[in-house]
Symmetry: C2
Subunit: 93 residues, 2 copies
């Protein structure tokens, strides 16, 4: 019974983080504005800043590899533009 | 000489990642739109998705704690709105 509950809670709780960043050679105008603003605020030791997107995703799945597959599909279909962006997926819990 | 070069390269290369997420109880309309879109794309096992911001910041500093202080200041002054957002800083390299 205890085990069943654990399995259920595990099934409902696969949580991943997805970080989407621009590829190295892609210009980042948004990051540039942030950089200029920070320098105007007196942060002289700032060398570079690049902005990306971050997602926390919870998946209903009892199988980790299946969940990761789903996340991968989401990234490819919607979250990241693979022409100009890279993404990394990490399991949180 | 070798050591000097190493020190220099270390000085120019402190890199941090900053993740800004909405606090738990703050509504995330952008995340909701992404969630609905993904469900319309056929991702039925998606339970929840929350969107945040991600920054990669390079700092000119030879002292890690000083660099982290700078990053903290940047987050408080510009990158995160502490009323509705939390942030986490991690050293990348």
């Amino acid at each position: 019974m205890e085990k069943q509950l654990q399995l259920n809670s595990r099934k409902n709780k696969l949580k991943f983080s997805v970080t989407v960043t621009l590829k190295k050679d892609v210009l980042d105008p948004q990051g540039k504005v942030v950089k200029n603003t920070l320098i105007n605020l007196g942060m002289n030791n700032l060398k570079s800043i690049r902005q990306g997107k971050y997602f926390e995703i919870e998946i209903d799945a009892n199988d980790e590899s299946k969940a990761e597959e789903s996340i991968d599909k989401m990234c490819k279909k919607l979250l990241a533009n693979l022409i100009i962006e890279d993404y990394t997926v990490k399991k949180i819990s």
